[in-house]
């Protein structure tokens, strides 16, 4: 795999510099650590700090924005940021109303964010966290907290960001973000691997005519490897698995994200959406809003995931609040 890089060891720091340069109208880089900070942020609210390993762009740094994250703490490729990075990033944006961390539920992230929270506590800064575990293929339902966070992160960031903007207190923002997390399921399919810059092995191996359901965004083993199917069959299977995990009833309103893992095209994902919409229609489920995009990638991995967020009154109100960043903008309703 050819990569457009200089020295593999400099990838993350050079990319962050370039990213923040490019969006200097919106962002600035933390002077000491790999943190992306929103420039003109509101100062009278709970600070929302997101983050995790790099390599999934635009997740997480690309979801810093108005009504979204106030800052993102960025680790090396596929590795959690260290507690120092998280701590400094949070300190740079906190406004004495506390800090909510939203991140994907991975062992490394949990350890490092927990440690950062302890450091903040020592400084008298209130903080708490919501771990996203939307990938319902990554562990059985009775081991929810073993599940991984994937593209559904975005919905939790959106809702948490809106809750912060609405002026809610830290515990309320946390409760709301958890409500979003608990009403959310994702599952994906992979057809080809991504590659970490500087490593010569792809994240996994797969035959030319095969695909794998439920694979994680770092190449973690999925639930079933099979011959390549039609996108209609795949979509049906993915939707079926989400429904098996979360009750979706006629009359429910949902938000939907079809997320590309890197090299899968909007053209292909649009065909998947077409089928998903047919299935949702048949179930009497109403789509409130939806997106087709590559928001949470695994380098140039092939494949996509479906995320479904079930709305209630409160979530809907927050979802409908406007937000803006260069990669994700909602006008509000």
């Amino acid at each position: 795999m050819k990569k457009f890089i200089n020295n593999p060891e400099d990838v993350v720091s050079e990319a962050l510099t370039g990213f923040v340069d490019c969006y200097s109208n919106y962002y600035e880089k933390h002077e000491e650590v790999n943190g992306v900070l929103l420039k003109n942020r509101r100062k009278d609210k709970v600070a929302l700090v997101i983050g995790g390993g790099s390599g999934h762009e635009p997740m997480f740094s690309g979801f810093v924005g108005k009504g979204l994250g106030d800052a993102a703490a960025c680790g090396n490729i596929f590795a959690s940021p260290d507690p120092g990075t998280i701590y400094e990033t949070a300190m740079a944006v906190e406004n004495s109303k506390g800090v909510l961390f939203v991140y994907g539920n991975y062992a490394g992230d949990n350890l490092n964010f927990d440690m950062a929270e302890e450091l903040l506590e020592e400084d008298g800064v209130k903080s708490t966290h919501v771990r996203v575990w939307d990938d319902c293929a990554s562990a059985p339902k009775d081991r929810l907290t073993d599940r991984r966070g994937i593209a559904g992160d975005l919905f939790v960031v959106k809702i948490a960001g809106a809750a912060c903007d609405a002026g809610l207190e830290l515990d309320e923002v946390k409760a709301t973000a958890e409500m979003a997390r608990d009403n959310l399921r994702s599952i994906g399919v992979a057809s080809s691997p991504g590659q970490i810059p500087g490593l010569d092995k792809p994240t996994f191996e797969i035959a030319d005519d095969e695909m794998e359901y439920g694979m994680g965004i770092h190449g973690e083993k999925g639930i079933e490897r099979t011959k390549m199917k039609t996108v209609d069959e795949i979509t049906e299977y993915l939707y079926f698995n989400i429904k098996k995990d979360m009750e979706i009833n006629s009359g429910d309103e949902v938000c939907v994200l079809i997320n590309g893992l890197g090299s899968t095209t909007i053209l292909e994902m649009s065909i998947a959406y077409r089928k998903l919409k047919e299935l949702l229609d048949a179930d009497g489920v109403q789509v409130h809003d939806s997106d087709i995009n590559s928001y949470c990638t695994c380098q140039e991995m092939g494949g996509f995931s479906i995320s479904i967020l079930k709305l209630n009154e409160e979530l809907k109100k927050l979802y409908d609040m406007p937000c803006y960043c260069p990669y994700y903008a909602k006008e509000g309703k």
């Binding site: 959690s80 940021p81 260290d82 507690p83 490394g108 350890l111 490593l199």
Partner: protein
């Protein structure tokens, strides 16, 4: 060596750092076989920071402060699960201790024991989960059992126990770590456990010669 004083603690950390940096290619290879191959880079990076940090402590007077500073430097720079885990190995047991100019074998053993507890508290890994705990836990047991014999014999036993622990990881299936491989991990040793062994080996070597 009868006791370990603060200056020696500093030199010991620097010696460990050199040995881990030397072992970087080997650790990379071990992690590549069943993990994502970044363990050598991470450990070498973390211990470089630790070394730089303690090097700056001109004439340290508190043994615990040296270990704490080294661990914190690792913790605050490495990222990933192993940053917290290996940072804690040096830091957690030293945290909150009253300053002392030197410590004996018993104190060293107790420090490592507290670190092990913190690591298991944070990381939730048990012996048999194919992690660095598989090397650290028996090493701590060995230290406790032989602390009365003095620092060098104690570290000699600890190194042997850690090495046996590394060997044992070949029999286990991995449960932790972000980039699990597709196939089985049985037959392969754990990268973190390997680092633990190198750390004890280096501690012993330093103690033997000072």
């Amino acid at each position: 060596m009868e006791n370990l004083n603060a200056v020696q603690a500093k030199e010991m950390i620097m010696y460990i750092a050199d040995k881990i940096i030397e072992a970087k290619p080997m650790l990379t290879e071990v992690d590549s076989a069943i993990g994502d191959g970044d363990h050598g880079i991470g450990m070498a990076g973390g211990l470089t920071k630790a070394k730089t940090k303690v090097e700056k402590m001109e004439s340290p007077e508190d043994v615990y402060a040296v270990f704490h500073a080294a661990g914190k430097a690792m913790l605050m720079s490495m990222g990933g699960a192993s940053g917290v885990i290996f940072g804690s190995m040096f830091m957690a047991g030293a945290k909150g201790m009253d300053p002392v100019g030197e410590i004996g074998a018993e104190e060293l053993a107790q420090m490592m024991k507290r670190s092990l507890e913190a690591i298991q508290e944070r990381g939730k890994a048990q012996v048999g989960d194919k992690t660095m705990v598989d090397a650290l836990s028996p090493a701590v047991d060995a230290m406790e059992a032989s602390a009365s014999e003095g620092i060098v014999p104690m570290l000699t036993r600890a190194e042997a126990a850690a090495l046996a622990g590394v060997e044992s990881t070949k029999n286990f299936e991995a449960k932790f770590g972000r980039a699990k491989t597709q196939g089985t991990t049985i037959g392969f040793q754990d990268a973190g456990a390997t680092s633990v062994w190198i750390i004890f080996k280096s501690m012993k070597e330093y103690a033997e010669t000072h």
